[in-house]
C-alpha cells in the first residue's frame, strides 16, 4: 500500500530534507503533506487521510508534544503512528511522548539512512 505522510516542522529547509529523505527511503508514498507547526499539522490531519506523522518537538504556536496530546485525545487521529524527529532529547520529554504512544524517535542531525530505518521500524510495527 502507499502511505500518506505528514511532515510537521517549522523549518522549511528541514521539511525539504525530510521530504527528500522519504523519497529516497523507498517507502511507497501516496501523498506527502507538510505543516509548519502542530496546529497546522492538526488541521491537515482533520482534512486528510494520513498514515504516518513525522513531527518536530520545538515549534511555534503548538509544539510537537501539544500536537501529540491533541491527536491522542481525538478518536479520529489517535491511532496514527508518530515518529518524532527532533534535536531535543531530554529523557523526561521523550518518556512523556512514549507514554502518549509515540512510536519512534530520531535525533537531528540524522542521515537519510537513519530516517529510512526509523520509518521502516514505525510502519512495520504499526502494520504487524
Amino acid at each position: 500500500m502507499a502511505y500518506n505522510i505528514l511532515v510537521v516542522d517549522d523549518s522549511e529547509t528541514m521539511r525539504a530534507v525530510i521530504a527528500k529523505s522519504i523519497g529516497l527511503a523507498g517507502v511507497a508514498l501516496g501523498s506527502l503533506f507538510q505543516a509548519a507547526n502542530g496546529a497546522e499539522g492538526i488541521e491537515v490531519l482533520r482534512r486528510e487521510w494520513v498514515d504516518l506523522v513525522l513531527a518536530d518537538i520545538n515549534m511555534p504556536v503548538l509544539n510537537g508534544v501539544g500536537m501529540v496530546t491533541q491527536m491522542k485525545a481525538d478518536p479520529g487521529m489517535g491511532d496514527i503512528p508518530v515518529l518524532i524527529v527532533s534535536s531535543e532529547g531530554s529523557a523526561t520529554r521523550l518518556q512523556a511522548l512514549k507514554d502518549q504512544g509515540v512510536k519512534g524517535f530520531l535525533r537531528k542531525p540524522f542521515t537519510p539512512e537513519e530516517l529510512k530505518k526509523a520509518m521502516e521500524s514505525v510502519l512495520g510495527a504499526h502494520h504487524e
Binding site: 529516497l24 527511503a25 542521515t111 537519510p112 539512512e113
Partner: protein
C-alpha cells in the same frame, strides 16, 4: 579477472567475472557503486575531499578528490548503462591513520563529501565501515555486487 584500483584511481566494469579491489584505505575513502539490474559496478579510491584546494591537480587527475572523482565515477557508471535509481553505494575507509590527533580530519572530511555527493545524486548508502584507525581493503564482485572488506585479518560483508 581481478583488477586493482590504486590510489586516486577507479575502475568500472560490466563483466560479471571481474573483481575490483582497492588496498590500504587509510584516511582515503573507497566507494563502490553497483547496479544490480544492469550488473554494472565501479570502485574508486579517493585521497582528499575537495578539488578546490588544487584545481590544476584536479584537472590532471580528478579521481584524487572525492568531489570530482565521484562525478567521474557516476558518469562512467551511467555511460555503461547503470541507472541512478538502481545504484547501491557502499563506503569504506576514511580513518584517522597518520592523523591520530585529528589535526586535519582528512578521513572525516572525505566521508562528509562522499555523503554530500551521494545526497545530491539521491543515492543512499547501503553499507559502510568508516573511521577508526584500521587500514581497509575493499573488494567489489561484479557478479553479485557483493562488497567485501578485509581489515586486520578480519573479513566483513558490507
Amino acid at each position: 579477472m581481478n583488477h586493482t584500483v590504486g590510489i586516486a584511481e577507479m575502475k568500472v566494469s560490466a563483466d560479471p567475472g571481474d573483481v575490483l579491489a582497492t588496498y590500504a584505505l587509510g584516511s582515503c575513502v573507497g566507494v563502490s557503486l553497483y547496479d544490480p539490474v544492469g550488473r554494472v559496478g565501479g570502485l574508486i579510491h579517493c585521497m582528499l575531499p575537495l578539488s578546490r584546494i588544487d584545481p590544476a591537480k584536479a584537472e590532471k587527475n580528478p579521481l584524487m578528490y572525492v568531489d570530482t572523482g565521484m562525478s567521474v565515477l557516476l558518469q562512467a557508471m551511467f555511460d555503461q548503462g547503470a541507472q541512478r535509481k538502481s545504484l547501491v553505494a557502499k563506503v569504506a575507509g576514511a580513518s584517522r591513520i597518520m592523523d591520530a590527533g585529528g589535526v586535519f580530519n582528512i578521513g572525516e572530511r572525505n566521508y562528509t563529501v562522499v555523503r554530500k555527493v551521494l545526497w545530491k545524486n539521491e543515492i543512499l548508502i547501503a553499507g559502510e565501515d568508516v573511521g577508526g584507525s584500521v587500514p581497509r581493503t575493499m573488494y567489489l564482485y561484479l557478479d553479485s555486487g557483493r562488497t567485501l572488506l578485509k581489515m586486520a585479518g578480519e573479513e566483513k560483508e558490507l
